[in-house]
Protein backbone atom coordinates (compact mmCIF):
# COMPACT_ATOMS: atom_id res chain seq x y z
CA UNK A 1 0.00 0.00 0.00
CA UNK A 2 2.70 2.36 1.04
CA UNK A 3 4.85 1.48 -1.93
CA UNK A 4 2.07 2.12 -4.37
CA UNK A 5 1.60 5.52 -2.91
CA UNK A 6 5.25 6.51 -3.27
CA UNK A 7 5.36 5.30 -6.85
CA UNK A 8 2.32 7.23 -7.83
CA UNK A 9 3.68 10.18 -5.95
CA UNK A 10 6.95 10.00 -7.91
CA UNK A 11 4.93 9.63 -11.14
CA UNK A 12 2.98 12.76 -10.47
CA UNK A 13 6.04 14.79 -9.67
CA UNK A 14 7.70 13.62 -12.89
CA UNK A 15 4.70 14.69 -14.89
CA UNK A 16 4.68 17.91 -12.97
CA UNK A 17 8.32 18.44 -13.76
CA UNK A 18 7.70 17.91 -17.45
CA UNK A 19 4.81 20.31 -17.29
CA UNK A 20 6.99 22.89 -15.58
CA UNK A 21 9.79 22.46 -18.12
CA UNK A 22 7.42 22.99 -21.01
CA UNK A 23 5.92 25.93 -19.24
CA UNK A 24 9.39 27.42 -18.73
CA UNK A 25 10.36 26.94 -22.37
CA UNK A 26 7.27 28.71 -23.59
CA UNK A 27 7.72 31.44 -21.03
CA UNK A 28 11.30 31.90 -22.18
CA UNK A 29 10.29 32.18 -25.83
CA UNK A 30 7.65 34.73 -24.93
CA UNK A 31 10.14 36.67 -22.85
CA UNK A 32 12.72 36.81 -25.66
CA UNK A 33 10.42 38.91 -27.79
CA UNK A 34 9.46 41.10 -24.85
CA UNK A 35 13.09 41.64 -23.82
CA UNK A 36 14.08 42.40 -27.40
CA UNK A 37 11.44 45.09 -27.54
CA UNK A 38 12.50 46.46 -24.18
CA UNK A 39 16.11 46.41 -25.34
CA UNK A 40 15.29 48.36 -28.45
CA UNK A 41 13.33 50.91 -26.49
CA UNK A 42 16.18 51.24 -23.98
CA UNK A 43 18.83 51.77 -26.67
CA UNK A 44 16.64 54.30 -28.43
CA UNK A 45 15.96 56.11 -25.16
CA UNK A 46 19.58 56.07 -24.03
CA UNK A 47 21.16 57.21 -27.28
CA UNK A 48 18.27 59.63 -27.71
CA UNK A 49 19.03 61.07 -24.28
CA UNK A 50 22.64 61.79 -25.34
CA UNK A 51 21.32 63.40 -28.48
CA UNK A 52 18.86 65.61 -26.66
CA UNK A 53 21.58 66.78 -24.27
CA UNK A 54 23.06 68.61 -27.22
CA UNK A 55 20.01 69.39 -29.31
CA UNK A 56 16.98 70.96 -27.68
CA UNK A 57 13.79 68.91 -28.13
CA UNK A 58 11.97 71.94 -29.51
CA UNK A 59 14.51 72.41 -32.27
CA UNK A 60 14.26 68.73 -33.12
CA UNK A 61 10.48 68.73 -33.26
CA UNK A 62 9.81 72.11 -34.83
CA UNK A 63 12.95 72.97 -36.82
CA UNK A 64 12.46 73.12 -40.56
CA UNK A 65 16.04 72.35 -41.62
CA UNK A 66 17.58 68.90 -41.49
CA UNK A 67 21.33 69.05 -42.18
CA UNK A 68 23.01 66.92 -39.50
CA UNK A 69 25.66 65.67 -41.92
CA UNK A 70 26.75 69.12 -43.11
CA UNK A 71 29.15 71.54 -41.60
CA UNK A 72 26.30 73.83 -40.61
CA UNK A 73 24.25 71.35 -38.64
CA UNK A 74 20.48 71.78 -38.16
CA UNK A 75 18.32 69.19 -36.48
CA UNK A 76 14.74 69.98 -37.38
CA UNK A 77 13.01 66.68 -38.14
CA UNK A 78 10.03 68.24 -39.93
CA UNK A 79 11.45 67.79 -43.45
CA UNK A 80 11.91 64.07 -42.79
CA UNK A 81 8.44 63.78 -41.28
CA UNK A 82 7.10 65.67 -44.26
CA UNK A 83 8.86 63.36 -46.72
CA UNK A 84 7.55 60.33 -44.85
CA UNK A 85 3.98 61.59 -44.78
CA UNK A 86 4.12 62.68 -48.41
CA UNK A 87 5.23 59.30 -49.79
CA UNK A 88 2.83 57.53 -47.39
CA UNK A 89 -0.04 59.73 -48.50
CA UNK A 90 0.62 58.87 -52.14
CA UNK A 91 0.78 55.19 -51.22
CA UNK A 92 -2.47 55.35 -49.25
CA UNK A 93 -4.22 57.15 -52.11
CA UNK A 94 -3.48 54.06 -54.17
CA UNK A 95 -3.85 51.32 -51.58
CA UNK A 96 -6.96 52.32 -49.65
CA UNK A 97 -9.50 52.79 -52.42
CA UNK A 98 -8.13 49.98 -54.57
CA UNK A 99 -7.76 47.67 -51.59
CA UNK A 100 -11.31 48.32 -50.49
CA UNK A 101 -12.68 47.81 -53.98
CA UNK A 102 -10.77 44.54 -54.30
CA UNK A 103 -12.04 43.43 -50.90
CA UNK A 104 -15.64 44.22 -51.87
CA UNK A 105 -15.20 42.47 -55.18
CA UNK A 106 -13.68 39.37 -53.61
CA UNK A 107 -16.25 39.04 -50.87
CA UNK A 108 -19.43 40.10 -52.66
CA UNK A 109 -19.03 39.65 -56.40
CA UNK A 110 -16.27 37.22 -57.28
CA UNK A 111 -17.16 33.66 -58.21
CA UNK A 112 -15.34 31.10 -56.15
CA UNK A 113 -13.11 30.40 -59.16
CA UNK A 114 -12.08 34.03 -59.56
CA UNK A 115 -11.44 34.13 -55.83
CA UNK A 116 -9.24 31.07 -55.90
CA UNK A 117 -7.05 32.70 -58.56
CA UNK A 118 -7.01 36.23 -57.19
CA UNK A 119 -6.26 35.60 -53.55
CA UNK A 120 -3.04 33.62 -54.07
CA UNK A 121 -1.90 36.13 -56.69
CA UNK A 122 -2.31 38.87 -54.16
CA UNK A 123 -0.34 36.92 -51.62
CA UNK A 124 2.50 36.56 -54.11
CA UNK A 125 2.44 40.32 -54.54
CA UNK A 126 2.84 40.64 -50.80
CA UNK A 127 5.85 38.33 -50.82
CA UNK A 128 8.02 40.29 -53.27
CA UNK A 129 11.09 41.74 -51.49
CA UNK A 130 10.77 45.48 -51.15
CA UNK A 131 14.14 46.11 -52.73
CA UNK A 132 12.66 44.76 -55.97
CA UNK A 133 9.83 47.24 -55.66
CA UNK A 134 12.40 49.96 -55.06
CA UNK A 135 14.28 49.35 -58.30
CA UNK A 136 11.01 48.85 -60.11
CA UNK A 137 10.05 52.35 -58.98
CA UNK A 138 13.40 53.91 -59.86
CA UNK A 139 14.09 52.23 -63.18
CA UNK A 140 10.65 51.61 -64.58
CA UNK A 141 7.90 53.67 -62.99
CA UNK A 142 9.80 56.96 -62.79
CA UNK A 143 10.78 56.98 -66.51
CA UNK A 144 7.23 56.01 -67.38
CA UNK A 145 5.82 58.85 -65.29
CA UNK A 146 8.35 61.25 -66.80
CA UNK A 147 6.73 60.65 -70.17
CA UNK A 148 3.45 61.89 -68.71
CA UNK A 149 4.92 64.59 -66.46
CA UNK A 150 8.10 65.91 -68.09
CA UNK A 151 8.85 68.08 -65.06
CA UNK A 152 9.20 65.01 -62.84
CA UNK A 153 12.73 64.67 -61.41
CA UNK A 154 14.70 61.43 -61.38
CA UNK A 155 14.18 61.09 -57.65
CA UNK A 156 10.73 62.06 -56.48
CA UNK A 157 7.99 61.25 -53.97
CA UNK A 158 5.42 60.21 -56.53
CA UNK A 159 6.93 57.10 -58.03
CA UNK A 160 8.01 55.34 -54.81
CA UNK A 161 4.70 56.41 -53.27
CA UNK A 162 2.71 54.73 -56.04
CA UNK A 163 4.82 51.60 -55.92
CA UNK A 164 4.57 51.48 -52.14
CA UNK A 165 0.81 51.69 -52.58
CA UNK A 166 0.92 48.60 -54.77
CA UNK A 167 3.08 46.91 -52.16
CA UNK A 168 0.64 47.46 -49.28
CA UNK A 169 -2.41 46.86 -51.46
CA UNK A 170 -2.59 43.11 -50.70
CA UNK A 171 -2.52 43.79 -46.99
CA UNK A 172 -5.34 46.31 -47.18
CA UNK A 173 -7.39 44.09 -49.47
CA UNK A 174 -6.91 40.98 -47.41
CA UNK A 175 -7.57 42.59 -44.01
CA UNK A 176 -10.58 44.50 -45.32
CA UNK A 177 -11.92 41.34 -46.88
CA UNK A 178 -11.59 39.58 -43.54
CA UNK A 179 -13.56 42.39 -41.96
CA UNK A 180 -16.29 42.23 -44.59
CA UNK A 181 -16.37 38.45 -44.41
CA UNK A 182 -16.88 38.65 -40.65
CA UNK A 183 -20.13 40.57 -41.07
CA UNK A 184 -22.84 38.03 -40.20
CA UNK A 185 -24.84 36.75 -43.15
CA UNK A 186 -28.00 37.53 -41.20
CA UNK A 187 -27.39 41.25 -41.73
CA UNK A 188 -27.22 40.75 -45.50
CA UNK A 189 -30.44 38.76 -45.37
CA UNK A 190 -32.06 41.43 -43.22
CA UNK A 191 -31.20 44.07 -45.79
CA UNK A 192 -32.27 42.00 -48.79
CA UNK A 193 -35.53 41.09 -47.05
CA UNK A 194 -36.33 44.80 -46.81
CA UNK A 195 -35.95 45.08 -50.57
CA UNK A 196 -32.44 46.50 -50.62
CA UNK A 197 -30.41 45.96 -53.77
CA UNK A 198 -26.91 44.60 -53.80
CA UNK A 199 -25.12 47.95 -53.76
CA UNK A 200 -27.52 49.33 -51.16
CA UNK A 201 -26.79 46.33 -48.98
CA UNK A 202 -23.04 46.65 -49.41
CA UNK A 203 -22.82 50.38 -48.83
CA UNK A 204 -25.70 50.79 -46.41
CA UNK A 205 -25.22 47.76 -44.18
CA UNK A 206 -22.15 45.65 -44.81
CA UNK A 207 -19.46 48.31 -45.03
CA UNK A 208 -20.75 50.24 -41.99
CA UNK A 209 -20.87 46.96 -40.08
CA UNK A 210 -17.31 46.17 -41.13
CA UNK A 211 -16.17 49.72 -40.48
CA UNK A 212 -14.01 48.87 -37.47
CA UNK A 213 -12.04 46.18 -39.25
CA UNK A 214 -11.66 48.24 -42.40
CA UNK A 215 -10.48 51.28 -40.46
CA UNK A 216 -8.03 49.09 -38.56
CA UNK A 217 -6.63 47.74 -41.82
CA UNK A 218 -6.27 51.30 -43.15
CA UNK A 219 -4.28 52.37 -40.13
CA UNK A 220 -2.07 49.31 -40.26
CA UNK A 221 -1.45 50.16 -43.91
CA UNK A 222 -0.48 53.68 -42.89
CA UNK A 223 1.88 52.30 -40.28
CA UNK A 224 3.40 49.99 -42.87
CA UNK A 225 3.85 52.87 -45.32
CA UNK A 226 5.46 55.07 -42.69
CA UNK A 227 7.90 52.33 -41.74
CA UNK A 228 8.68 51.20 -45.31
CA UNK A 229 12.36 51.71 -46.06
CA UNK A 230 13.84 50.21 -49.20
CA UNK A 231 11.49 51.63 -51.81
CA UNK A 232 11.82 55.20 -50.61
CA UNK A 233 15.54 54.89 -49.90
CA UNK A 234 16.10 53.80 -53.49
CA UNK A 235 13.64 55.89 -55.45
CA UNK A 236 12.75 58.99 -53.44
CA UNK A 237 16.20 60.53 -53.13
CA UNK A 238 18.10 61.79 -50.12
CA UNK A 239 17.15 65.41 -49.98
CA UNK A 240 15.27 66.40 -46.84
CA UNK A 241 12.84 69.01 -48.09
CA UNK A 242 9.83 70.60 -46.51
CA UNK A 243 7.65 70.25 -49.56
CA UNK A 244 4.28 68.90 -50.60
CA UNK A 245 5.32 68.66 -54.22
CA UNK A 246 5.37 65.00 -55.19
CA UNK A 247 7.51 65.75 -58.26
CA UNK A 248 10.51 66.66 -56.13
CA UNK A 249 12.96 64.44 -54.29
CA UNK A 250 12.35 63.97 -50.58
CA UNK A 251 13.95 62.01 -47.81
CA UNK A 252 11.93 59.95 -45.37
CA UNK A 253 12.84 59.13 -41.80
CA UNK A 254 13.64 55.55 -42.74
CA UNK A 255 15.71 56.56 -45.74
CA UNK A 256 17.76 58.89 -43.56
CA UNK A 257 18.52 56.10 -41.12
CA UNK A 258 19.72 53.95 -44.01
CA UNK A 259 21.83 56.79 -45.31
CA UNK A 260 23.62 57.30 -42.00
CA UNK A 261 23.96 53.62 -41.15
CA UNK A 262 25.54 52.83 -44.51
CA UNK A 263 27.63 55.98 -44.76
CA UNK A 264 30.96 56.74 -43.16
CA UNK A 265 29.62 58.77 -40.25
CA UNK A 266 31.87 57.93 -37.28
CA UNK A 267 30.24 56.16 -34.35
CA UNK A 268 29.56 58.18 -31.23
CA UNK A 269 29.30 61.52 -33.01
CA UNK A 270 26.26 63.69 -32.78
CA UNK A 271 25.52 63.07 -36.45
CA UNK A 272 25.55 59.36 -35.77
CA UNK A 273 23.22 59.71 -32.80
CA UNK A 274 20.61 61.40 -34.97
CA UNK A 275 19.60 58.00 -36.24
CA UNK A 276 18.51 57.03 -32.76
CA UNK A 277 16.53 60.22 -32.37
CA UNK A 278 14.89 59.68 -35.75
CA UNK A 279 14.45 56.00 -35.00
CA UNK A 280 12.79 56.91 -31.70
CA UNK A 281 10.44 59.28 -33.43
CA UNK A 282 9.59 56.62 -36.01
CA UNK A 283 9.05 54.08 -33.26
CA UNK A 284 6.64 56.38 -31.44
CA UNK A 285 4.76 57.14 -34.66
CA UNK A 286 4.27 53.54 -35.75
CA UNK A 287 3.58 52.45 -32.18
CA UNK A 288 0.78 55.01 -31.96
CA UNK A 289 -0.65 53.93 -35.30
CA UNK A 290 -0.57 50.24 -34.38
CA UNK A 291 -2.17 50.91 -31.01
CA UNK A 292 -4.88 52.94 -32.70
CA UNK A 293 -5.52 50.07 -35.07
CA UNK A 294 -5.73 47.57 -32.21
CA UNK A 295 -8.02 49.85 -30.26
CA UNK A 296 -10.38 50.25 -33.20
CA UNK A 297 -10.39 46.53 -33.80
CA UNK A 298 -11.11 45.84 -30.14
CA UNK A 299 -14.03 48.20 -30.09
CA UNK A 300 -15.38 46.68 -33.24
CA UNK A 301 -15.25 43.13 -31.94
CA UNK A 302 -17.03 44.23 -28.79
CA UNK A 303 -19.95 45.28 -30.91
CA UNK A 304 -20.63 41.77 -32.11
CA UNK A 305 -19.88 39.68 -29.08
CA UNK A 306 -21.59 42.12 -26.70
Amino acid sequence: MEQVQTISHAGISLAELKEKCIHAIFLFCGCVSIFTTIGIVLVLALEGAFFFQEVPLTEFLFGTEWTPLFFNKSFGILPLVCGTLLTSAVALCVALPLGLIIAIYLSEFASSRARSVLKPTMEVLAGIPTVVYGYFALLYVTPLLQKIFPELLGFNALSPGLVMGIMILPMVASLSEDAIYAVPGSLRQGAYALGAGKLQTIFGVILPAAFGGIAASFILAMSRAVGETMIVAIAAGQQPQLTLNVFEPVETMTAFIVQVSLGDTPHGTLAYRTIFAVGGALFVLTFLLNSLSLWIRGRYQERYTG
Partner: protein, 281 residues
Protein backbone atom coordinates in the same frame (compact mmCIF):
# COMPACT_ATOMS: atom_id res chain seq x y z
CA UNK B 1 -56.76 11.75 -25.81
CA UNK B 2 -58.05 14.47 -28.06
CA UNK B 3 -59.76 16.01 -25.19
CA UNK B 4 -56.45 16.37 -23.42
CA UNK B 5 -54.97 18.06 -26.49
CA UNK B 6 -57.71 20.63 -26.54
CA UNK B 7 -57.40 21.10 -22.87
CA UNK B 8 -53.71 21.80 -23.14
CA UNK B 9 -54.42 24.37 -25.78
CA UNK B 10 -57.06 26.09 -23.75
CA UNK B 11 -54.85 27.10 -20.90
CA UNK B 12 -52.52 29.42 -22.77
CA UNK B 13 -55.37 30.65 -24.92
CA UNK B 14 -56.97 32.33 -21.97
CA UNK B 15 -54.11 34.52 -20.94
CA UNK B 16 -52.96 35.92 -24.24
CA UNK B 17 -54.30 37.97 -27.06
CA UNK B 18 -56.67 35.31 -28.29
CA UNK B 19 -59.60 37.23 -26.81
CA UNK B 20 -59.42 39.90 -29.47
CA UNK B 21 -58.65 37.23 -32.04
CA UNK B 22 -62.01 35.63 -31.27
CA UNK B 23 -63.84 38.91 -31.65
CA UNK B 24 -62.56 39.44 -35.19
CA UNK B 25 -63.22 35.89 -36.24
CA UNK B 26 -65.89 36.45 -38.96
CA UNK B 27 -63.24 37.66 -41.37
CA UNK B 28 -61.88 34.19 -41.77
CA UNK B 29 -64.83 32.82 -43.72
CA UNK B 30 -65.04 35.39 -46.49
CA UNK B 31 -61.48 36.58 -47.07
CA UNK B 32 -59.78 36.14 -50.41
CA UNK B 33 -56.48 34.31 -50.86
CA UNK B 34 -53.57 36.65 -50.52
CA UNK B 35 -50.94 34.08 -51.36
CA UNK B 36 -51.87 31.29 -53.74
CA UNK B 37 -49.34 28.50 -54.13
CA UNK B 38 -49.77 25.99 -56.95
CA UNK B 39 -47.83 22.75 -57.40
CA UNK B 40 -44.67 24.14 -55.91
CA UNK B 41 -41.56 22.00 -56.08
CA UNK B 42 -38.33 23.35 -54.75
CA UNK B 43 -34.77 22.07 -55.15
CA UNK B 44 -31.44 22.77 -53.49
CA UNK B 45 -29.19 21.60 -56.28
CA UNK B 46 -30.25 18.00 -56.84
CA UNK B 47 -32.08 17.51 -53.56
CA UNK B 48 -35.73 18.29 -53.59
CA UNK B 49 -36.91 20.09 -50.46
CA UNK B 50 -40.57 20.79 -51.32
CA UNK B 51 -42.97 18.45 -53.13
CA UNK B 52 -46.12 19.62 -54.92
CA UNK B 53 -47.23 22.18 -52.40
CA UNK B 54 -50.56 23.83 -53.12
CA UNK B 55 -52.28 26.06 -50.64
CA UNK B 56 -54.09 29.37 -50.33
CA UNK B 57 -53.11 31.69 -47.55
CA UNK B 58 -55.89 34.07 -46.69
CA UNK B 59 -55.53 37.79 -46.34
CA UNK B 60 -55.55 39.27 -42.86
CA UNK B 61 -55.20 35.97 -41.08
CA UNK B 62 -52.38 34.36 -39.18
CA UNK B 63 -51.24 31.11 -40.73
CA UNK B 64 -48.94 28.83 -38.76
CA UNK B 65 -46.54 26.40 -40.42
CA UNK B 66 -45.70 23.44 -38.23
CA UNK B 67 -43.84 20.21 -38.75
CA UNK B 68 -40.75 18.29 -37.74
CA UNK B 69 -37.30 19.80 -38.15
CA UNK B 70 -36.01 19.73 -41.72
CA UNK B 71 -39.45 19.32 -43.28
CA UNK B 72 -39.15 22.46 -45.37
CA UNK B 73 -41.05 25.10 -43.39
CA UNK B 74 -38.31 27.69 -43.69
CA UNK B 75 -37.72 26.80 -47.30
CA UNK B 76 -41.38 27.28 -48.08
CA UNK B 77 -41.48 30.57 -46.21
CA UNK B 78 -38.47 31.86 -48.12
CA UNK B 79 -40.05 31.06 -51.48
CA UNK B 80 -42.76 33.61 -50.75
CA UNK B 81 -40.35 36.57 -50.74
CA UNK B 82 -37.82 34.81 -52.94
CA UNK B 83 -35.11 34.91 -50.31
CA UNK B 84 -34.08 31.49 -51.59
CA UNK B 85 -32.75 33.29 -54.67
CA UNK B 86 -29.77 34.25 -52.53
CA UNK B 87 -28.77 30.60 -52.19
CA UNK B 88 -26.77 29.41 -55.18
CA UNK B 89 -28.07 26.40 -57.08
CA UNK B 90 -31.70 26.58 -56.02
CA UNK B 91 -34.62 26.28 -58.42
CA UNK B 92 -38.35 25.86 -58.31
CA UNK B 93 -41.32 24.61 -60.31
CA UNK B 94 -44.90 25.72 -60.00
CA UNK B 95 -46.20 29.15 -59.17
CA UNK B 96 -46.84 31.48 -56.29
CA UNK B 97 -49.27 34.32 -56.75
CA UNK B 98 -49.06 37.13 -54.25
CA UNK B 99 -51.95 39.61 -54.42
CA UNK B 100 -52.55 38.87 -58.05
CA UNK B 101 -48.96 38.77 -59.26
CA UNK B 102 -47.04 35.64 -60.11
CA UNK B 103 -43.86 36.36 -58.16
CA UNK B 104 -41.55 34.08 -60.12
CA UNK B 105 -42.75 35.63 -63.37
CA UNK B 106 -40.41 37.50 -65.68
CA UNK B 107 -41.80 40.90 -64.84
CA UNK B 108 -41.52 40.56 -61.09
CA UNK B 109 -39.51 43.26 -59.45
CA UNK B 110 -37.74 41.78 -56.42
CA UNK B 111 -37.57 45.13 -54.67
CA UNK B 112 -41.30 45.71 -54.76
CA UNK B 113 -41.99 42.08 -53.90
CA UNK B 114 -39.86 42.28 -50.76
CA UNK B 115 -41.34 45.65 -49.91
CA UNK B 116 -44.73 44.00 -49.99
CA UNK B 117 -43.63 40.81 -48.22
CA UNK B 118 -41.67 41.59 -45.06
CA UNK B 119 -39.67 39.04 -43.13
CA UNK B 120 -38.67 38.51 -39.52
CA UNK B 121 -35.93 35.99 -38.81
CA UNK B 122 -35.42 33.42 -36.09
CA UNK B 123 -32.45 35.25 -34.62
CA UNK B 124 -32.97 38.97 -34.40
CA UNK B 125 -30.62 40.67 -36.82
CA UNK B 126 -30.62 44.41 -36.16
CA UNK B 127 -28.07 46.36 -38.15
CA UNK B 128 -25.17 47.74 -36.11
CA UNK B 129 -26.68 51.20 -36.33
CA UNK B 130 -28.83 53.29 -34.04
CA UNK B 131 -32.37 52.24 -33.20
CA UNK B 132 -33.70 55.05 -35.36
CA UNK B 133 -31.50 54.17 -38.32
CA UNK B 134 -32.56 50.54 -38.14
CA UNK B 135 -36.21 51.38 -38.57
CA UNK B 136 -35.54 54.20 -41.05
CA UNK B 137 -33.33 52.02 -43.24
CA UNK B 138 -36.17 50.45 -45.24
CA UNK B 139 -38.05 53.66 -46.01
CA UNK B 140 -34.76 55.32 -46.88
CA UNK B 141 -33.75 52.78 -49.48
CA UNK B 142 -37.21 53.02 -50.95
CA UNK B 143 -36.78 56.73 -51.45
CA UNK B 144 -38.16 58.52 -48.39
CA UNK B 145 -35.75 61.37 -47.72
CA UNK B 146 -37.80 63.86 -45.76
CA UNK B 147 -36.52 63.89 -42.15
CA UNK B 148 -39.81 64.56 -40.43
CA UNK B 149 -41.56 61.98 -42.56
CA UNK B 150 -38.92 59.43 -41.57
CA UNK B 151 -39.28 60.33 -37.91
CA UNK B 152 -43.01 59.85 -38.27
CA UNK B 153 -42.59 56.42 -39.85
CA UNK B 154 -40.10 55.38 -37.18
CA UNK B 155 -42.44 56.39 -34.38
CA UNK B 156 -45.41 54.71 -35.97
CA UNK B 157 -43.54 51.49 -36.64
CA UNK B 158 -42.06 51.34 -33.17
CA UNK B 159 -45.48 52.00 -31.66
CA UNK B 160 -46.91 49.25 -33.81
CA UNK B 161 -44.16 46.88 -32.67
CA UNK B 162 -44.89 47.80 -29.06
CA UNK B 163 -41.36 49.09 -28.53
CA UNK B 164 -41.79 52.85 -28.70
CA UNK B 165 -42.25 53.44 -24.99
CA UNK B 166 -39.13 51.49 -24.12
CA UNK B 167 -36.85 53.26 -26.57
CA UNK B 168 -38.32 56.68 -27.34
CA UNK B 169 -35.73 58.46 -25.20
CA UNK B 170 -32.76 56.68 -26.74
CA UNK B 171 -33.46 56.38 -30.43
CA UNK B 172 -29.85 57.35 -31.13
CA UNK B 173 -28.40 54.46 -29.13
CA UNK B 174 -27.00 51.39 -30.82
CA UNK B 175 -29.64 48.78 -31.53
CA UNK B 176 -27.20 46.13 -30.32
CA UNK B 177 -27.55 47.47 -26.79
CA UNK B 178 -31.18 46.32 -26.64
CA UNK B 179 -32.25 43.05 -25.03
CA UNK B 180 -32.93 40.03 -27.24
CA UNK B 181 -36.68 40.49 -27.05
CA UNK B 182 -36.42 44.19 -27.77
CA UNK B 183 -34.14 43.49 -30.72
CA UNK B 184 -36.69 41.11 -32.17
CA UNK B 185 -39.46 43.70 -31.80
CA UNK B 186 -37.12 46.21 -33.40
CA UNK B 187 -36.75 43.86 -36.35
CA UNK B 188 -40.53 43.64 -36.56
CA UNK B 189 -40.71 47.44 -36.49
CA UNK B 190 -38.07 47.56 -39.21
CA UNK B 191 -40.15 45.24 -41.35
CA UNK B 192 -43.33 47.23 -40.69
CA UNK B 193 -41.64 50.50 -41.63
CA UNK B 194 -41.76 49.71 -45.35
CA UNK B 195 -45.49 49.14 -45.04
CA UNK B 196 -45.74 45.50 -46.15
CA UNK B 197 -48.96 43.59 -46.75
CA UNK B 198 -47.54 40.28 -45.67
CA UNK B 199 -45.23 39.39 -42.80
CA UNK B 200 -43.25 36.18 -42.86
CA UNK B 201 -41.92 35.10 -39.49
CA UNK B 202 -39.54 32.19 -39.11
CA UNK B 203 -39.67 31.04 -35.49
CA UNK B 204 -39.60 34.65 -34.33
CA UNK B 205 -39.71 33.80 -30.65
CA UNK B 206 -37.70 30.61 -30.44
CA UNK B 207 -34.60 32.36 -29.10
CA UNK B 208 -36.51 34.39 -26.53
CA UNK B 209 -37.54 33.97 -22.90
CA UNK B 210 -41.22 33.37 -22.03
CA UNK B 211 -42.00 37.03 -21.28
CA UNK B 212 -40.50 38.27 -24.52
CA UNK B 213 -42.26 35.44 -26.33
CA UNK B 214 -45.58 36.52 -24.84
CA UNK B 215 -44.93 40.07 -26.05
CA UNK B 216 -44.25 38.86 -29.57
CA UNK B 217 -47.40 36.78 -29.49
CA UNK B 218 -49.47 39.74 -28.29
CA UNK B 219 -47.95 41.76 -31.05
CA UNK B 220 -48.93 39.19 -33.67
CA UNK B 221 -52.47 39.27 -32.34
CA UNK B 222 -52.50 43.05 -32.68
CA UNK B 223 -51.12 43.00 -36.20
CA UNK B 224 -53.63 40.37 -37.24
CA UNK B 225 -56.21 41.77 -39.59
CA UNK B 226 -53.96 44.55 -40.85
CA UNK B 227 -51.31 42.20 -42.16
CA UNK B 228 -51.33 38.71 -43.54
CA UNK B 229 -48.98 36.81 -41.29
CA UNK B 230 -47.28 33.49 -41.95
CA UNK B 231 -45.41 32.16 -38.96
CA UNK B 232 -43.21 29.09 -38.58
CA UNK B 233 -43.20 27.68 -35.09
CA UNK B 234 -42.10 24.57 -33.27
CA UNK B 235 -44.24 25.49 -30.34
CA UNK B 236 -47.68 23.90 -30.67
CA UNK B 237 -49.18 26.02 -27.91
CA UNK B 238 -47.93 29.07 -29.72
CA UNK B 239 -49.44 27.92 -33.00
CA UNK B 240 -52.70 27.37 -31.15
CA UNK B 241 -52.57 30.74 -29.46
CA UNK B 242 -51.71 32.96 -32.40
CA UNK B 243 -52.95 31.36 -35.58
CA UNK B 244 -56.23 31.07 -37.45
CA UNK B 245 -54.98 28.49 -39.92
CA UNK B 246 -52.37 25.83 -39.56
CA UNK B 247 -50.44 23.95 -42.21
CA UNK B 248 -48.67 20.77 -41.22
CA UNK B 249 -45.59 19.90 -43.28
CA UNK B 250 -43.72 16.63 -43.25
CA UNK B 251 -40.76 15.61 -45.41
CA UNK B 252 -41.29 18.49 -47.79
CA UNK B 253 -44.96 17.73 -48.34
CA UNK B 254 -48.01 19.59 -47.13
CA UNK B 255 -49.84 16.96 -45.13
CA UNK B 256 -52.77 18.90 -43.81
CA UNK B 257 -54.03 22.45 -43.88
CA UNK B 258 -57.07 23.91 -42.20
CA UNK B 259 -58.47 25.95 -39.35
CA UNK B 260 -56.10 25.79 -36.41
CA UNK B 261 -58.75 24.55 -34.08
CA UNK B 262 -59.72 21.74 -36.39
CA UNK B 263 -56.11 20.71 -36.95
CA UNK B 264 -55.46 20.53 -33.26
CA UNK B 265 -58.69 18.87 -32.19
CA UNK B 266 -59.80 16.75 -35.15
CA UNK B 267 -56.83 16.21 -37.47
CA UNK B 268 -57.83 14.29 -40.60
CA UNK B 269 -54.44 12.67 -41.17
CA UNK B 270 -52.89 10.11 -38.89
CA UNK B 271 -49.47 11.75 -39.43
CA UNK B 272 -50.75 15.08 -38.16
CA UNK B 273 -52.35 13.52 -35.15
CA UNK B 274 -49.18 11.62 -34.27
CA UNK B 275 -47.09 14.74 -34.59
CA UNK B 276 -49.36 16.95 -32.55
CA UNK B 277 -49.90 14.33 -29.92
CA UNK B 278 -46.18 13.60 -29.73
CA UNK B 279 -45.56 17.25 -29.32
CA UNK B 280 -47.83 17.45 -26.34
CA UNK B 281 -46.29 14.41 -24.69
Amino acid sequence: MRHSVAHNLDIPMINTASSNKQSEQPQSQTSTPCIAVRDLNFYYGDTQALFDISLDIEAGLVTALIGPSGCGKSTFLRTINRMNDLIAGTRHEGEIVVSGHEIYGKKTDLVSLRKKVGMVFQRSNPFPKSIFENVAYGPKIHGTKNKSRLAEIVEKSLLRADLWHEVKDRLGDSALALSGGQQQRLCIARALAVDPEILLMDEPASALDPRSTAKIENLIAELRGDYTIVIVTHNMQQAGRVSDKTAFFCDGKLVEYGDTEAIFTKPQQQQTEDYIRGRFG
